[in-house]
């Protein structure tokens, strides 16, 4: 049970963090922060 809670919580934090990034990137029209996605003015801020 404790294992489930710890692993579940860690995984949930990772997914929430990734989802927040995805949401923010989409909202700010930010790409994956490589120069392959050129408008880097929106990256690294």
């Amino acid at each position: 049970m404790t294992g489930n809670i710890i692993v579940g919580a860690v995984f949930a934090v990772i997914i929430i963090f990734a989802a927040t990034k995805v949401f923010k990137d989409a909202k700010n029209q930010k790409c994956s922060c490589g120069t392959s996605c050129s408008d880097k003015s929106k990256c690294h801020k």
């Binding site: 294992g3 489930n4 990734a18 990137d25 989409a26 029209q29 994956s32 490589g34 392959s36 996605c37």
Partner: protein, 651 residues
Amino acid sequence: MKIALTGNPNSGKTTLFNAITGKAENVGNWPGVTVAVKEADLKKKYNQQGLEVKIIDLPGTYSISPFTGEEKITRDFILGEEPDVIINIVDGANVGRSLFFTTQLLELGIPVIIALNKNDIVSKRGDTVDYTALGNELNCVVIPTTATSEEGLLKLINEAIKLGNEKKAQIAPEFPGKDSEDSDLARQKFIDSIVVKCQVKKRDASKVSLSDKADRIVAHKWLGLPIFFVIMWAVFSFSIEGVGGFLSGYFNEVLFGEIIPNAANALLEGLGVNELLQALIVDGAIGGVGAVVGFLPLVMVLFFCLSLLEDCGYMARVAVVMDRFFKKIGLSGKSIIPMIVGSGCAIPGVMATRTIEDVNERRMTTILTPFVPCGAKLPIIALFAAVFFPDNAWVGPSMYIIAIAMIVIGGLLLKKIFVWENSSQFIMELPDYKFPSIKYAFLQMIDKAKAFIYKASTIILVCNTLVWFAQAYSWGLKPVEDQSLSILASLGSMIAPILIPLGFVGWQLAAAAITGFIAKENVVATFAVLLAVASEEALHLPGGALVQFFTPVTAFAYLAFNLFTPPCFAAIGAMNSEMGSKKWLFKALGFQFAVGYILAMLITQIGSLIVYGTPAVGFIPAIIITALVATYLVITIKKSDAKRAELGVEA
């Protein structure tokens, strides 16, 4: 202190910007690579006094009077933001052409310093420029620089900071006819006189150089395209068969196939984690992300090779080769630049359409650019090529050739469907051939790899966690043993009938295609998640789990469907920004979907008839759809022809 970098396109502004700020912005040896303002702090190496200095890289422009969208950005920045100093980067190899903009800048009152760049090329040619005389003629300091080797940059920055601190207004040079109606002509005459005084050219332009001889073959009107295909075939073969393919095989089969899942399973079992949570983490998150990251070595090698091709000057020749085809369909050769940029990622490709002045050409290019296979589509190509065509190295390059064909056919159709008149011409200065920089190619490769991993650890991770959940649970949020009872199956089943005329049977194929619209890599990751649960066979191996859904012909068609239907959401967002109209965006998406759909349908049905002697599933609906599309096209083109006749516009 704000220091702005300005100059003609392809004068080396971004290379200089990267050198003095330590950034890794995209550079290229063709005009129009920078289409937006970029800002960064001056690197410590060049900022010995520790001042607060911001460097601003502006899109290239030939004149202070803007002609294209990105030139307007530069004009507006210089006039609106008033930087403390302007560093005008002048292409030392083309002084005469560059000084037109320089003389206009000098009239703004903002202190200007000239970086006479590409000094290495000037020296190599044996030409000489009298910097002091040039500076005296223009009333400003001229510093010779070579941005690629950072030669002269410290002196340039020190002079710029000194000028910024002095805060003296720039004094513009005077020349006869400056305020006359023919001021542009007078300005050019003044520039010509300066060039005569300050520059000695050793190179005889009428002599045929080795570079000219190479261009006669590489950019030949008939040989150019086959040479391009052979080069792309070689690049793909090297990437797939060489170290990239070997490492990708290891990543897919061993690292993400055994080592990481086994270790994760052992750890989670040891912690006594519930089976469903374990499956979510191992099959969903690790399996989905691993399936995409497994192709990372292959993608890195491919981009390394493409960067070498670009840096040695070959890609600029490809633009010239394509120009003659593009002109025939109403596109200018300028359209090839967004398309080459789009081979890395469709987003900057679409953004690069800003360099096209004509609104119709710009719209056409925005619609057609996403047809070029971008980095995100490479894992799909690699997966299908490995499973269905393991001994055929032509599959990867064939996607580029089909992309060119789709651009040409798509362009012709767009020109016929819409009443458009195109006028612009394409003039491009070909860079000299040079030995490509390994450092540049390496940095580009690392940059692409970073972007690839970022995507895999954000959008791909989130999507595949959701995909795993949707394939493991029913609408009542109860775990299901049979995938066909899951949420994903019911969603996929709603879309699946649309794909039957294409010979694609199964909700799994529809589900993978839908997730592909979020990010193209998701197609591979979704199959990895779905088949990890449903099949014991490896996904990436020849004759693997995918063969239950496809024949080689339908697999090729599915590949084409995913590559030539609308791009990912992020690229659609960029299309929306560039088109500036929802109406045009939806027209563009409708057109792209129709092209991808019809192409996949034709590959499946005609291919099955030729290869297997029988049509594929959905033959009758395919005929009906073909007839309906043909009728629609005939009616629309007739209507457009009538409108064109009315307006006196040629198709």
